[in-house]
């Protein structure tokens, strides 16, 4: 790295084409993002995760939302429909399938709108072809992925396997642990994804039901303050504006057949999307207060995980502490970009690293194993899947059994 990315004293630059202090048609004030997140007084509210999504979108100056029902995101999508009825959104409509929804989102984003949608499980996989297309077209669409099981037999219950499929789509992938994270990440996700040097889609993932359908206390920014709207003229590719001269050209991803271009153009294009994800670190670190959170990472036993597995692990660590077993915790907030350096640093003293996951694949453990030295330190598990809960006692027992088997 040629320059350290500072955590503090960074002023976040969001779109500036709308005058700050100006009011929108709902009487909300376009406000500097630094003032919204760091100066405005937040108010605690007791809401479900789905209601929290609605409240975040109320403050996000979203142009278009496209909806299609699939549990457990349906409630959030329906609640955002209420926002449309209240005139907070310019456009809201239903697609014919998740595939259609994501295509319609692309159209709205090409046209210069800030676009939001939600999906889950099999819906995410049905829409999959569109995600690399969004990224390749540099469309900063935000999709909330309320994770659920993807395979037969059908399960509508939480399972994070679908996140694995998103990893190399060229999207930013953040993983919310709580409803508070979900509120913050939704608003902050727009700011990072729309930076001109980033400008790729973002998936804000959360564990369905555990986060979406349970109530939690969430500190929310004032309802009368909203983000400045998206500025399509800062995009790194031409905005599809047929009236404005430099833009009166086709955005070519769809017609760029490789027989007309240098093959290395396509390779370079793919590299540029990866580069855009890397550039997002600089904007994400100050907004999320780092890509990971650390608790007692000087300990020899660590739990490194993301999503609600963090909450369960925190309680497991408390249980272990009662038995005299000291365990540290690393919460991973962004899966893409993956916090390679942060995890290397946080785990350098650990002898045993546990990675609890809500899926049978263990993709997060693989990511961590490919990041750190002496990766035999990584214990792949405990795992649950298909909607099972992950009791803290189970995590604690598996840690104890492994340590015992290792002669600790």
């Amino acid at each position: 790295m040629n320059k350290s990315v500072e955590l503090k004293n960074k002023r976040i630059i969001a779109s500036q084409h709308v005058k700050l202090g100006q009011k929108n048609r709902k009487g909300q004030t376009y406000t500097d993002v630094n003032d919204i997140f760091y100066k405005a007084e937040s108010t605690p509210s007791f809401l479900t995760g789905s209601e929290v999504i609605k409240e975040a979108i109320r403050r996000a100056s979203v142009g278009s939302m496209v909806a299609y029902p699939i549990t457990p995101q349906s409630e959030a999508a329906a609640l955002i429909g209420e926002l449309f009825a209240e005139d907070y959104l310019d456009e809201y409509f239903r697609g014919e399938s998740e595939f259609a929804v994501m295509g319609q989102c692309a159209g709205a984003a090409f046209g210069g709108h800030r676009v939001y949608t939600t999906t889950a499980g099999p819906g995410t996989l049905r829409a999959m072809e569109n995600f690399p297309m969004w990224a390749g077209s540099r469309l900063p669409i935000q999709v909330c992925v309320t994770c659920r099981g993807i395979n037969s037999p059908l399960s509508i219950q939480p399972d994070t396997m679908e996140m694995h499929y998103l990893l190399e789509t060229g999207m930013l992938v953040w993983h919310a642990e709580t409803a508070q994270d979900l509120f913050d990440y939704t608003l902050k996700g727009f700011i990072v994804a729309e930076q001109p040097d980033v400008h790729v889609p973002i998936a804000i993932c959360c564990d369905g039901f555990f986060v979406t359908h349970t109530k939690d206390t969430v500190n929310m920014t004032p309802e009368d303050l909203c983000l400045t709207p998206y500025d399509p003229y800062k995009a790194p590719v031409p905005c599809l504006d047929m009236e404005t001269a430099p833009i009166r050209m086709m955005r070519d991803p769809f017609v760029m057949k490789s027989n007309y271009i240098n093959y290395s153009t396509h390779a370079s294009w793919q590299q540029e999307i990866k580069a855009a994800i890397e550039r997002s670190r600089k904007h994400t670190v100050p907004l999320l207060d780092g890509l990971i959170d650390e608790e007692n990472t000087d300990r020899e036993v660590l739990v490194v995980t993301s999503g609600t597995a963090v909450s369960q692990s925190r309680e497991a660590i408390r249980l272990l502490e009662q038995e005299g077993i000291k365990v540290g915790l690393v919460k991973i907030k962004t899966i893409r970009p993956f916090p390679f350096e942060e995890i290397k640093r946080a785990t350098k003293n650990a002898k045993h690293i546990f990675v609890p996951e809500f899926n049978v694949g263990g993709w997060l453990a693989r990511e961590i194993k490919s990041t750190i030295q002496n990766n035999e330190r990584v214990y792949v598990g405990p795992h649950v899947a298909g909607g099972m809960t992950m009791p803290s006692e189970v995590i604690a027992l598996e840690i104890k059994n492994h340590l015992k088997a290792s002669g600790q």
């Binding site: 790295m1 040629n2 320059k3 350290s4 990315v5 540099r138 930076q195 001109p196 040097d197 400008h199 800062k234 995009a235 790194p236 590719v237 031409p238 404005t244 001269a245 430099p246 833009i247 050209m249 086709m250 070519d252 017609v255 760029m256 007309y260 271009i261 240098n262 290395s264 153009t265 390779a267 370079s268 294009w269 590299q271 540029e272 990866k274 580069a275 855009a276 890397e278 550039r279 670190r281 600089k282």
Partner: protein, 213 residues
């Protein structure tokens, strides 16, 4: 702190994007020289010297400055022409990003899908990208670094480019004129342009080359 140097190529069959090697873009008030973050003031003289040392220094103006889509852009285009006269530099436009079919006319245009053809054909050794959308600029900059020995400079209106050998950010007409002043200062100190003689071509509305009388 590791440091990936972004130098003129040819670097590799498929070199990495500098951002994935850990290079971070400059903050406002900064620039980068070959991946090293420097105060913007330092970059002007370095850039001016590169331009004057070049045999075929060339500006690639993109669609964002080729069309008068707002008054600010018209002023920027004027400043770019002043820079081309001051060094002097050739002007070869990147008018749009569509792949050229059946074949690019490498003498008079550049395209982000095969930018190396224009560099090779004209033997361009130093170039400035200005008014090119960031995505297309990054594609072209990396491919130029992969296959040619051209030193690339980005005068970016947004956050800058890691894949250029030297990059300014938040470029305005004033910044372009500051670069012109740096060129004039070096010239007044006796540094002479090494540019080969050339005739700046013009195109009419049908696309034909009209040579000045």
């Amino acid at each position: 702190m590791s440091h990936y140097e972004v130098k003129a190529g040819p670097e590799a069959f498929l070199p990495p994007a500098a951002a994935t090697m850990g290079n971070v873009l400059p903050d406002p008030g900064e620039a980068h020289i070959e991946g090293r973050i420097v105060p913007e003031e330092e970059a002007y003289e370095y850039c001016a010297r590169k331009l004057l040392e070049a045999k075929v220094p060339t500006i690639f103006p993109g669609p964002l400055v080729l069309w008068k889509w707002n008054d600010h852009v018209a002023e920027k285009a004027t400043a770019i022409r002043e820079l081309a006269n001051a060094v002097p530099m050739r002007l070869i436009p990147m008018a749009d990003y569509r792949p050229k079919y059946p074949k690019i006319d490498a003498a008079v245009e550049i395209n982000p899908n095969h930018p190396n053809l224009t560099i090779w054909h004209n033997k361009i050794d130093v170039c400035i990208f200005v008014g090119v959308h960031c995505h297309q600029a990054n594609l072209a900059l990396k491919m130029i670094r992969a296959a040619t020995d051209c030193y690339t400079i980005a005068m970016c209106a947004q956050a800058g480019h890691e894949d250029a050998c030297l990059s300014f950010r938040d470029a305005t007409p004033e910044k372009i004129r500051t670069l012109i002043k740096a060129v004039e200062k070096l010239k007044s100190e006796g540094v002479k342009s090494q540019a080969n003689d050339f005739t700046q071509f013009k195109m009419d509305r049908t696309g034909l080359i009209v040579k000045p009388s």
